[in-house]
Structures are given as structure tokens and as C-alpha cells.
Amino acid sequence: MSFMKSFAIGTVATLMATAAFAECEIASGNVNVLANDFPALKAVTAAAAECTGGVTVSANHNKDFRNITVQALTANPAEYTAVVVANSSIVPLLNEGLLRPLDDLVAKHGQGLSKNQLITIDGKIMAIAFMANAQHLFVRQDVLDQIGKPVPATWEEVVETGKAIKDAGIMDHPFAFLSMSDWNLGEEFVNMYLGHGGEFFKPGTAEPAINNETGVATLNMMKDLVSLSNPDFLTYNTATVVPIWKSGDLAIAQLWGSSGGELLAGEGAAEGVAENTVLASAPTVAGGDTPASTLWWDGFTIAKNISDEDAEATFIAMMNGISPAMVEANNDAAVWLMDAYNPGPAATGVAATATGGAEPYPMLPYMGLLHQAFFEELPDFLQGNESAEQTLADIEAAYIAAAKEAGYL
């Protein structure tokens, strides 16, 4: 057991060994957590593994965790007692009914939780959210000062400012967003389409409703933006754009809030870049009043196919994982939803986007299929191979084929 524990805790625990955690005693039970692989989540599982007593706590961090969640929880007993999910990755688990309602456990052990951490579906608590994320604007104040423009508040201003920077000869490609032709590009379309006030589906059905003027406007805005971006834009994901930003070759970018800490710290950045990096809300578009971005949460869920004892042990351990002590020790690792969180400068962009009223990413059973149709078909339009209407029609056709197979249409 002690071996399991020390492995699960890994390096994070050694870094945090000095941080004092609240006592967590669990008499018995088996806790096994499946989660994505990044530092903030490792901090949570490491804190959960602090629990002592007869309990075993282990964690599996895997960046491909999405591929195994459904099968892992379908088995009885489930391989994992808890899965850390986000708005989109919870959907397949909900579709298959593999999650345990948490109302009784929250009533018994969830005193420290605030109302907004409870993800309720049809009145039942299905997940406990603990961190938030959103894409928002990053700008270089020194470059904006050079051309005498303020931080853009709308996407139209982004285009205008970008053109001004280009015309002033400061940079050839002043703008970047996460436009890689995979899940990333679909997310950019979702953001921009929601910013235009669009609806993805006909009300009350799973039928797509994106082949309209809003869709065309969204595509045209995206095309304006990619014309300000490097021609390689279809290969741009977080891992590509963050180093470019650090090298000082970008003036405006739309990136995940979770990149904020790294960019403000400026390790490995060119001189003057980190100091001038400003985090701002995601802009609005087309006269809308909500930022064109989607809000994301990460939270833990508990498997249905496990014993009550294990479920309770898991809940207590995960509550310890998101305890105030963990937040204090890792304050800047993420935008935490817990009261103990003290928002630092890296959180300003996400906070501004959330208070601006951005929409949460739609937690619909068939949204994933539409998202996939977006990024499969969009590159044709962005590369100028076909018209906006043709692309939108292709997206709908691709989605309908997939949704029919999955039984939604």
C-alpha cells in the first residue's frame, strides 16, 4: 500500500511535503482516480492520497484518459472509483449512465463546498467542480502602445489592431489562436459562433442549425483572423503558440487561461515580453455583449459500479484533494473554484471572461459529434478551397451521418 501511495503522489508530493494538510482519516475502502495529466490535477490527487487509515489511494494520470473512461466504468466493479472530467468529457459517462449521484455524500461530507461547485443534472448532483478555465485574449502592451491602440474589446477591433500592427511593419503575423485542425479548431468555431449569439441545434432536437447567417458571419470572422496569423495556422496548438509568444513574435493571441501563469512568469521568454503581457477578457463580436469564448470546469465524478463504502471513501479523499490546504499550497496552479482561492494575476483573463457572461461549453449528449464535424470540415474553408455555405452544408452532412450512427437522429 505504501508503495502504491508513494507512486501515486509522485513528485508533486515531494515538493509539497512541507505543506500541512488537514487530517484525513478513512477507516477502509479503495480509492482509484483516473485523471488527465497536468500539474494542477496531480496536485489534487496527491492531496487526496494524503488520507491515512485503512484506505488505499492511487491515481492514474493519462492524457488519453478520455479513451478509456467509458469502458473502465462500465466494468463491474469499475476499475476506477473516481474520474476527473470537464464539461465535455463528462458527457459520454452521462450518456451511458455510469456516474453516481452525489447528493447523499455531499449532504454528509460536503460542508465546505460552495453552491457553484455542484454540477447538477436534472436536480441530481453528478460532479463536484473545482477549477475553471476559458480561452481569452493575451496582448502585448508595448506593441499596442507603439501604434497607440487600446486593448481590443471586440473581435472587429482585434482585426483592426492586427492590421495596424502589420501595416506599421512591426510584425508580419501579429495574431494567433489555437487553430490546429483537430479538436482545437472546433473549439474556436464554438467560441466564435456562441459569441455571435448562435444556436447549434434546433430547439428540443439534435438536428443541427448552423447553416445560417450566423454561421457565415462566424466563418468570415475566422477567415479575417487567420489572414493575420501565420500561414502555418492549421498546426497551431497550445504547445506551438506559447513558445512563439515567448519569443516575442506575437502581439495578440487567444489562448487558454491555464497558459497565463507560464506566460506571466516568462521563463525562457525574450526580453520585455513577460513584463508587457496583459491578460484580458475574450472579446465580444458582431455587437454582441457576451465574450466569444466558452467557460470550462474540471471536476470529479464518482463511478456508479462500485460499493457504497468505496464511494464514500473516494468522496472523502477527493474532498481532501480539493481542501483549502491544497489550494493554499498550489494557489497559482489553476483558477480554483474553492473559497480558499486567492485569485492572482494569472486568473484575471478567465475572471473577466466569466464575469463578462461567456457561455459554458454546451454539455449536450451530441455536442461532441458536432464539434468533430467542425474541425473535419473547416480547414477547407479557411484554406480558401470552398465557400462558407458549402462548408456549413458539409458540417451538417458530416454531423448528421455521425448522429444517425449514434442514434440521436
Binding site: 478520455r66 451511458e96 454540477i119 443534472i121 436534472d122 492549421l234 473535419e376 448528421i400
Partner: protein, 343 residues
């Protein structure tokens, strides 16, 4: 060999293959004839950290009841194979009827994901395979002339492209061909075009993928040919030379025919592996310019939040059929050899 002896010798190997390849393949094939049950939806109110909203959600109990009745789902026949994501009979028919010229028809065809992927897959397969064979033979012939002292290190170096993890090998090369990387920047200088980017243009991306494919597969054919060269009977070669054959003629008429069985083996393996090209497309993040059948499968299974098993299964079966067609000439040849040996 007696049937019974044969059976016991082959049993462990056969059991492993049946259990882990044949059975899953058959189950994939069966599953691809079905689509999922109609999902029973209910309107519910969902609340999160940001707001509450009324949305549709799958009614688990009602859907589970349907599932109970027919665990495989709804029978769809070949419906999945003929839908837009695969062979797209309907769309192809419409395009055939409505387009005026062959060019317009082809461009409609290439707008369909399966055909788009098929074109690249076939191009890749038929360009890379011959290059790998010719280049591998060339390298083997050249390395064979290297002085004994340098032979060992040369062979090791020649194997490098094959033995390094494709994940990292492709990542490094992807970086080198970046507009700011060493190869990309050098090309920009050679062509005197500061905007040249291998990642931004479709033809250049195809060339890049093909060159990577040749580079990473050549060692395989090299090592096989090199070993084969050691077995070419010296007497035959010398006899040819005494008869006045030039070096080139000796290679053409003695070495190459002797290596034909190796060529068949390499062709077989290369056709198969190149037809399943996936890693370079993923590592070079090239899916906007080039997709392959394997990439479609990968994307159905891993691309989004909801894996599409039925669709991936149908594409997998189509891939197997494609490989079988490609291999037919080689198989016929092997069949003849086999029968000759028996006789």
C-alpha cells in the same frame, strides 16, 4: 508433416492470433453492420458553476431497456458503409448526375472524407514503396563497397531512421522543417522566398510526408537487401564479368533477379504498412492537408469526446479489403511458388 503434428506446432501461435486478432476483427465486422439504438431523450435542467439551463439529456433507463432487448443495436446492413463518411454512394451519385465535367465531379468527390483520404493513401503507398525499394537496394549496394572498417558504423547509422521512436523522430523533423527551423530556413534561402512554408501548402505537405515516409522505411529494405547481397553466388557474378558484362549489367541481370524474392517480401510489407500510414500525419499535424484511411479511424476513435466505434469499424474493414486487393498480385505469385515447391 502430419495434420496432427502440424496442429500442435501451430497451436500456440494460432490461438494468440485467433484470440487477439481474428475474433476482434470479426466482432468489429459484425458491429459495423449495426448502429446504436435510438437514444431516448428527456429535457432536464442542468446547473454548473456558471449558470443553469434546460437541455436534452439521454434517458438512461429507457435507453438501457432498449439495449437489453437487442445488445448489438439496430441492424443497419451496409448502411454505415454507404453513408457520407464512408463510400457515400448517395453523394457520389448526386455529384455524378449534377456535375458537367470530370474535373467538377472529381472535386466533388474529393470533398467527401473517404475519397479524400483514399487519394492520399494511394499516392503515399505508390510513391513511397518503389522509392523505398530502389533506394534501399542502392544503399545496400553502396554500403557493400565500403571498406570493412567502416561497415559496422555505417550499418548502424543506416538503421537509425527505423529504430528511433516515430513519435519523437517525426517531432524533431517537424520542427526542423518549420519556417524558423534549420531545414525550413535553408529552403527559404535556397528558393529566395521568405514566405515559403512546408506546413502551409498542400503539395509541399504531401511531399514532406512522402519524403519522411521514404526516409523512415528505407532502413528496413536496406537491411534486408544488404543481407541478401551477401548470398549472391560470387561465381555467377564473376562469370558474368568474364563474359564482358559491365558492372551495371552485372547488377541488372545477376543481382536483381537473385534478389527478386526479397523484393516480393519488401513490397508486401511496405504496401501494407504504407497503406496504413498514420504516424507522420499525426506527428506532422498535417490532417488539414492530407488524411489517410488510418487517420479517419484514429479520428473517429480518438478525435472527439464521443468515440464512433461503428464508423471506425466500417473504415477498418474497408482498409482490410483495400490491403487484400493491393496484395493480390503478390499473393498470386506466392501461390504459384508454393505450388511449384509442392510439386
Amino acid at each position: 508433416m502430419k495434420h496432427r503434428t502440424f496442429f500442435w506446432f501451430i497451436l500456440p501461435s494460432l490461438a494468440a492470433m485467433i484470440l487477439f486478432i481474428a475474433l476482434p476483427t470479426v466482432s468489429v465486422a459484425i458491429q459495423s453492420l449495426f448502429v446504436e439504438h435510438e437514444q431516448v431523450m428527456v429535457e432536464v435542467e442542468n446547473c454548473g458553476p456558471f449558470k443553469c439551463e434546460t437541455v436534452l439529456q439521454v434517458d438512461n433507463e429507457a435507453t438501457a431497456a432498449l439495449q437489453e432487448d437487442a445488445p448489438l443495436g439496430r441492424f443497419n446492413g451496409l448502411g454505415t458503409y454507404t453513408n457520407r463518411k464512408h463510400l457515400a454512394f448517395e453523394q457520389v451519385g448526386v455529384a455524378w448526375n449534377e456535375t458537367e465535367s470530370l474535373g467538377a465531379f472529381l472535386s466533388e468527390l474529393l470533398n467527401l472524407p473517404f475519397y479524400k483520404a483514399l487519394i492520399f493513401t494511394l499516392t503515399f503507398t505508390f510513391v513511397v514503396t518503389p522509392f523505398v525499394i530502389v533506394l534501399g537496394l542502392g544503399v545496400a549496394l553502396a554500403v557493400n563497397t565500403v571498406p570493412r572498417l567502416f561497415k559496422g558504423p555505417t550499418i548502424f547509422v543506416s538503421l537509425l531512421p527505423m529504430i528511433v521512436t516515430p513519435l519523437v523522430g517525426a517531432l524533431i523533423i517537424f520542427w526542423m522543417v518549420d519556417a524558423d527551423g534549420v531545414i525550413g530556413a535553408t529552403l527559404q534561402r535556397i528558393f529566395n522566398n521568405p514566405n515559403l512554408s512546408l506546413k502551409a501548402s498542400m503539395p509541399l505537405t504531401w511531399i514532406m510526408l512522402i519524403v519522411y515516409g521514404i526516409w523512415s522505411s528505407t532502413p528496413f529494405s536496406f537491411i534486408v537487401f544488404y543481407a541478401g547481397l551477401q548470398t549472391v553466388p560470387k561465381e555467377t557474378l564473376e562469370a558474368a564479368k568474364i563474359d564482358g558484362a559491365s558492372r551495371w549489367q552485372a547488377i541488372r541481370y545477376v543481382v536483381v533477379p537473385y534478389m527478386m524474392p526479397l523484393v516480393v517480401f519488401i513490397t508486401l510489407m511496405q504496401l501494407m504498412d504504407n497503406f496504413r500510414v498514420l504516424e507522420p500525419i499525426v506527428a506532422f499535424q498535417a490532417s488539414a492537408k492530407a488524411t489517410s484511411l488510418s487517420w479517419i479511424i484514429y479520428n473517429d476513435l480518438r478525435g472527439g469526446d464521443i468515440p464512433q466505434f461503428g464508423s471506425a469499424g466500417a473504415t477498418s474493414i474497408l482498409t482490410i479489403i483495400g490491403v487484400a486487393i493491393l496484395l493480390t498480385p503478390v499473393l498470386i505469385r506466392t501461390w504459384r511458388d508454393f505450388n511449384r515447391k509442392r510439386a
